[in-house]
């Protein structure tokens, strides 16, 4: 009877079904929730069957992964052996990770905590949809109020409540200069757009690519363009644009596009083939003199054995002096996090002076708190920390802080068309169309 083994197999499968479904049933969280309401959790309380913390991020390599490892090390020292699941998803600027995270959150499988850029990405995507827990009590308990800049806390707050702990700050509007190239041509880093174009002209004549650009991934183009927007329109106009209170075919937007068009005469011809690190590579090798990139570029230069302040330097992108584009990685607590005690402990490490110091030294960013000792940081980081404390903060659109992602997708798309068509009016018109399509509100 050849059917017998088959019947046995099916019977086995049926018998196993309840077992399999059991596994997905979570243990009731009541005990954990009660524990979460009390203050600092005793380490023993964490040693339960659910003693696990999943940390979701897109930090998979280099200084970022090292920084995350520091957080995890501190967490494990203090948690008494709660196991950590490092659920990092690779992919530039987190584009892949964000898609995976959405699937997990919507599918009812939230991580214990996850990396998210402060601003729109956190608020519009997660907080407004009611998926995050407010952290005001944690801020009170740890005495963190006033330790972070107000403008930064605004970026992680909604309706007066705080929803995330910033772990680090990246500086978006930085112009990176190869000092040797500048000295050889007798130039100083430009501060205004006029100076910038004069410098470009001289470098071009000297046979050096003035500005390195990378457009293989779309975001570095928007990264540069948002700098130009702030340079031509100032902070208030920039904020109004993304709030839908100013028109996208305004003359100041066109001015930024005109500048961009002019800049395109001074960039490397193969920009469509390069990624941001390769563009930085051109500057590092002296083939190009400058590039506009966030200060994660500093970490890249350092891995190329270049010395901050000696071989390369950074100034604010021309026309944006006094403004600081903030890209902040923050960590929050999903409303349905499986182990809130562990999550809160982790967040308290992220926000502590010790955690900020350990993490940022490895990642190559600067602390989000302004009371962290600066001694251990390199000269450019020290300069950035001073600048951060005094400048006006602006959210970055390219990194999801200024506006909903749907509109960012459109901006990226329009700019990639602009790179080849160089049609200012058409592009501004397309921006206006996209702003309307994305429903940016005009109050």
């Amino acid at each position: 009877m050849s059917t017998k083994p088959l019947i046995a197999l099916i019977a086995l499968m049926i018998a196993l079904t309840p077992l399999l479904s059991c596994q997905t049933d979570r243990k009731p969280d009541h005990e954990m929730d009660k524990a979460a309401d009390t203050e600092a959790p005793p380490p023993s309380a964490l040693k339960t069957a659910d003693g696990e913390l999943t940390i979701f991020s897109w930090w998979t390599a280099g200084g970022e992964a090292d920084g995350l490892a520091e957080h995890i090390r501190l967490f494990q020292e203090k948690s008494g052996g709660v196991s950590v699941v490092n659920a990092a998803v690779a992919g530039g600027a987190g584009t892949n990770a964000k898609a995976v995270l959405k699937t997990r959150m919507l599918g009812g499988d939230p991580p214990g905590t996850f990396q998210v850029h402060g601003g729109s990405e956190l608020i519009d995507t997660w907080v407004k949809s009611g998926m995050m827990a407010a952290l005001d009590s944690l801020y009170d308990e740890k005495g963190w109020r006033g330790k972070f800049p107000d403008a930064l806390i605004d970026m992680v707050s909604w309706q007066g409540r705080i929803y995330a702990v910033p772990s680090n700050i990246h500086w978006g509007n930085a112009l990176w200069c190869n000092k040797a190239v500048f000295e050889k041509n007798g130039l100083t880093p430009p501060e205004t757009m006029e100076q910038f174009f004069a410098v470009c002209e001289k470098l071009q004549k000297a046979g050096v690519t003035p500005l390195a650009l990378a457009s293989r991934n779309k975001w570095p183009v928007l990264h540069l363009f948002e700098n130009l927007l702030a340079a031509s329109g100032g902070r208030d106009f920039y904020m109004d644009l993304f709030a839908g209170k100013a028109a996208w075919d305004d003359d100041r937007v066109k001015k930024a596009l005109e500048n961009f068009k002019k800049i395109l005469e001074y960039v490397n011809a193969d920009h469509a083939a390069l990624t941001w690190d390769q563009a930085c590579g051109l500057v590092g090798q002296g083939k190009a003199a400058m590039t506009v990139m966030g200060d994660w570029a500093r970490g890249y230069f350092v891995t190329q054995s270049l010395k901050p302040g000696e071989d390369f330097d950074a100034v604010a992108t021309p026309g944006t002096k006094g403004l600081f584009f903030v890209i902040t990685d923050t960590f929050g607590m999903p409303e349905n996090a499986p182990n809130k005690v562990a999550t809160k402990l982790y967040l308290s490490i992220v926000g502590s002076v010790e955690g900020q110091l350990a993490f940022n030294l490895k990642k190559g960013s600067i602390p989000a708190r302004t009371d962290v000792p600066t001694d251990a940081f390199d000269p450019i980081a020290k300069k950035t920390m001073e600048y951060f404390a005094s400048a006006n903060l602006l959210p970055s659109a390219a990194h999801g802080s200024a506006v909903i992602e749907d509109f960012v997708v459109s901006l990226n798309d329009q700019l990639s068309v602009f790179l080849s068509e160089k049609d200012v009016d058409k592009c501004a018109g397309a921006f206006a169309f996209a702003a309307n399509d994305a429903g940016l509100k005009k109050d």
């Binding site: 059917t3 997660w126 920009h271 083939a273 997708v409």
Partner: protein
């Protein structure tokens, strides 16, 4: 061989899970997508308010989608023509039963075994203006520094189409080869005895009998090209300047980056309709042939 009731039960039992799975995960989700495309779901919180065909209307008016539709058409034409041509030529050569036929047959089939993501990565290196082809041309003394390949909006489409043809021509070749094997040697022999040369045998005896194979290949290939995503996403992400943008990439960005689920679903349904317009006539046609 009379089937007992028990065996019938068993075969039903064995098939039931896959039938159920297909109904839920294929037809169920097609239906769900169609429903979502009629709503105004935007953002992470589902919204099931029906707004009719609004998403489709705004899609048709969207410059990016208009460009995507043109791109899909152009890509499909190049992809089909290239595949049919190279598939037929390779098959005709291998059908000669020369020495090394087996080796070459496997060689030409091999790209099909590679994922689009893997081959796309390799093609990016080949078409990178700083390395790959340009470096090879420079070895031979050409001033190729100005050729942009996938970074040039005018050339990018041909580059990705070439990569796709490289990948799938082996499949077309296998189809044709099978078709040619089906042409009996008696007929070929008869033609030769009547004085036909090899070219004439191919043109008048073999080629006419390959028509059903060609139709089948067109259907299979065009459903690949209509929903192409991975290869292009790896190679150009739809750039430069929308030159290689496809509905699949627009859908991915709209849905999973922009959280505009209703529009994403609408794009998906449009892609489904395009594929259906092609496949349904074929199914009807082949049914009639069978009957």
């Amino acid at each position: 061989m009379k089937r007992s009731g028990k065996e019938r039960w068993l075969s039903f039992l064995i098939f039931a899970p896959s039938v159920a799975a297909v109904f839920i995960f294929v037809y169920g989700f097609i239906g769900w997508s169609a429903f979502i495309s009629l709503t105004d779901w935007r953002g992470l919180i589902p919204s099931y308010e029906i707004v009719g065909l609004k998403q489709y209307a705004s899609l048709m008016a969207h410059p990016r989608f208009q460009r995507d539709m043109i791109n899909t058409g152009v890509f499909t034409l190049i992809f089909l023509a290239g595949n049919l041509f190279f598939g037929l030529v390779l098959a005709a050569l291998l059908d000669r039963r020369l020495r090394g036929t087996n080796f070459f047959r496997n060689l030409f089939m091999f790209p099909m075994a590679v994922s689009f993501v893997v081959s796309g990565t390799v093609w990016v290196w080949i078409f990178n203006p700083n390395s790959g082809l340009n470096a090879v041309f420079q070895l031979f003394g050409f001033d190729s520094g100005k050729w942009g390949w996938i970074t040039d909006p005018k050339m990018a489409m041909y580059c990705v189409a070439m990569a796709a043809i490289w990948q799938m021509a082996g499949f077309t070749m296998a189809q044709y080869l099978a078709g040619m094997k089906g042409v009996s040697d008696d007929i070929r022999e008869a033609a030769r005895i009547d004085g036909a040369g090899e070219v004439q045998v191919f043109r008048h005896i073999i080629l006419p009998q390959l028509w059903p194979v060609t139709v089948g290949a067109i259907v299979v290939l065009s459903h690949i090209s209509l929903k192409i995503f991975d290869l292009i996403f790896v190679m150009t992400q739809g750039g430069p300047a929308r030159a290689t943008d496809m509905p699949g990439i627009f859908m991915f960005e709209t849905t999973f980056r922009g959280d505009f689920f209703a529009r994403g679903a609408a794009i998906g349904i449009v892609m489904l309709i395009m594929a259906a317009l092609l496949i349904i006539p074929y199914l009807v046609y082949s049914r009639r042939m069978d009957a």
